[in-house]
């Protein structure tokens, strides 16, 4: 327990000092993106890993958060930073509807409804031009030129997100969530209102994903329906972050986010310019192969299967 606290403090200091030591905008950008994925991945993990309700469309909540921030600027002419306040709650409203429609049912309905939901909302965002400007997207002006404010903001958010989820999982709610995942009938028979607690889990998850979306709007300053509601680059990436790192572990998605952003960037830049250019076209293929590989050989992720990985690596060394 003591050594874990020390590790956390050292990690915290490293993260605080990182942008002061590494001055390159490029690496700062990568870490900002990775920290944003920490938030999204952790929020997905609460819902899928702990509660057992696998969402195939976290882009819904992420995108709604981003669009909330964007629309506040383009239509109400107030700062997009208000989106950080409203992005989460608006995503929760959508989540409330999704939860109400799906959680009465068992089976694959929730997974399918989230998958369909992300398509529906992408079509709405594309066609409802008076509100969202459709395919043109939303462009705002970044508040800061330096990356530092964004860095510390997303670092604080990611830390808060992990801490809140840690607290939730230590509370009574956390045990309810896990019991729903393990055996819904048993949970029900012990008097747990499973529908209610599935909804609570979804709402917390949607809140964080929406807030991350609002941050994305402020940081990237440009969104369009195909970016923020993308199945591959948001929803599947979210799932990958979760399972590569390790489902149902607090630190899993955090580790997964850094691994996945690293993998994505390595292939997007064709091994930082070392490999032939055509490699960069294959990064969607790598995503798909990674899904297959991880599920087959590392079902519980880097953190969950850490003991197994360590053993394997040591055997090779010996």
């Amino acid at each position: 327990m003591k050594s874990r606290n020390v590790t956390l403090i050292v990690l915290g200091i490293l993260f605080l000092l990182f942008p002061l030591i590494i001055r390159s905008d490029y690496y700062q950008h990568l870490v900002i993106i990775a920290l944003m994925w920490v938030i999204i991945g952790s929020s997905w993990n609460l819902l899928a890993g702990y509660t057992g309700q696998v969402s195939f469309g976290h882009a819904i909540f992420f995108g709604v958060g981003a669009y909330t921030a964007g629309i506040l600027t383009t239509k109400l002419h107030i700062s997009a930073w208000w989106g950080m306040l409203f992005g989460g709650p608006v995503a929760m409203l959508i989540a409330l509807f999704v939860g109400w429609a799906c959680f009465r049912l068992r089976g694959p309905y929730f997974a399918l409804a989230t998958l369909a939901g992300s398509e529906i909302i992408r079509l709405v965002a594309t066609n409802w031009e008076s509100l969202t400007d459709g395919m043109v997207g939303i462009l705002i002006i970044q508040s800061f030129r330096s990356k530092l404010p964004y860095y510390y903001m997303v670092l604080a958010l990611a830390g808060a997100c992990i801490y809140v989820i840690h607290l939730v999982m230590k509370s009574k709610w956390g045990y309810y969530f896990v019991s729903i995942r393990e055996d819904q009938d048993a949970a029900e028979s012990l008097g747990i209102n499973t529908t209610l607690y599935k909804n609570i889990s979804l709402l917390i998850s949607a809140f964080f994903a929406g807030t991350a979306g609002a941050f994305y709007m402020n940081y990237m300053a440009f969104i369009d329906p195909h970016v923020v509601f993308s199945l591959h680059y948001i929803s599947i990436m979210t799932i990958l972050v979760g399972i590569v790192g390790g489902v149902a572990t607090i630190m899993g998605p955090a580790v997964g986010a850094f691994i996945m952003v690293g993998v994505q960037e390595t292939f997007r830049s064709a091994f930082f310019g070392l490999a032939p250019k055509w490699i960069s076209q294959g990064h969607a293929l790598v995503f798909g192969l990674l899904v297959i590989f991880v599920i087959l050989f590392m079902a519980n992720g880097v953190v969950g299967d850490w003991a197994k990985i360590k053993r394997y690596v040591f055997r090779i060394k010996a």
Partner: protein, 291 residues
């Protein structure tokens, strides 16, 4: 009135093909209890096979049915045998592992197609591609009609197979109760492999039938996967009869939507149906008939 009838005819004809796609998914859903999210992508593979056969050997797309269907059967068998079945033995926290796996398979198939054929739109131009005949004022597109009757014939064939052969009976038994089927001496592991192959070859048939009508590009799989699961939910999970009705309903609804609301919203219609079914008729059409 003519417009309405014309819309209805177009809807029913395309609905026949949708049914074929839906049945494949329903079969897999029934036996393995998972939604196959690579379904549309498998169809895309079949369409490319047909395209290659047409370009290089000048084979008629309908004749390619005889080649594409066995090919996809083998592909399906391979996927189930080496990628999906091993997952049953792996201890994992996530319940939807197999579904996730199908998503991965779908992505890989799409990207491989993109590598080989690039993202360009391709189509097959046959002598009958744009021909039509008239009954009264209503025009019937020839390839659509051929496709519809092929789909009908395949469906009848499938039902004969499911109802009359031993393998078919085993598939239905596994779908009803896996444990009981195992106790009765059914090799359920092999049945899942056969079922996945069967589902894949059905969707391959749909791909061959669609090729003279549609254009083809690597991302065509995604929308059809979504259509297929809308049909499956609408028909009732695992119900083949439901999938037939669901396919035709979706075809008519899309066609009506395109005519009376606007082409941009055609894709939305399926999802609206999906949400309505989820809210008002959970369990799908199967619930109405108690079959």
């Amino acid at each position: 009135m003519t417009v309405f009838l014309q819309t209805l005819v177009a809807g029913v004809l395309i609905g026949g093909i949708y049914s074929l796609i839906g049945i494949g998914m329903s079969l897999i859903m029934g036996v393995m209890g998972i939604i196959n999210l690579a379904h549309g992508q498998l169809m895309m593979v079949a369409m490319y096979i047909t395209l290659v056969l047409f370009n290089f050997l000048h084979l008629d797309p309908y004749f390619s049915l005889l080649i594409a269907m066995p090919c996809l059967f083998l592909l399906g068998v391979f996927l189930q045998r080496f990628l999906l079945n091993p997952l049953m033995k792996i201890e994992s926290i996530l319940p939807e592992n197999q579904v996730l796996m199908t998503v991965g398979i779908g992505m890989v198939l799409t990207e491989i197609a993109r590598f080989i054929f690039s993202s360009d739109y391709k189509s097959v131009k046959t002598s009958y591609s744009s021909s039509a005949f008239f009954i009264g004022n209503i025009s019937f597109n020839v390839p659509m009609c051929i496709a519809f009757f092929f789909a009908l014939a395949l469906t009848v064939l499938l039902f004969w197979f499911l109802l009359k052969t031993d393998t078919g009976r085993s598939i239905r038994a596994t779908a009803q109760d896996k444990d009981a089927a195992t106790l009765m001496g059914v090799n359920t592991g092999r049945i899942t492999v056969i079922t996945f192959g069967l589902g894949s070859s059905l969707v391959a048939a749909a791909g061959c039938l669609l090729l003279p009508i549609f254009y083809l590009f690597p991302d065509i799989g995604g929308p059809f996967t979504l259509k297929a699961f809308v049909i499956t939910i609408l028909g009732g999970l695992g119900s083949t009869v439901g999938a037939i009705v669901g396919g035709v309903v979706l075809g008519i609804a899309e066609s009506l939507g395109a005519t009376y609301i606007g082409m941009g919203y055609k894709e939305m219609v399926g999802f609206v149906i999906f949400v309505l079914v989820l809210i008002f008729l959970p369990g799908g059409l199967k619930r109405l008939t108690k079959v």
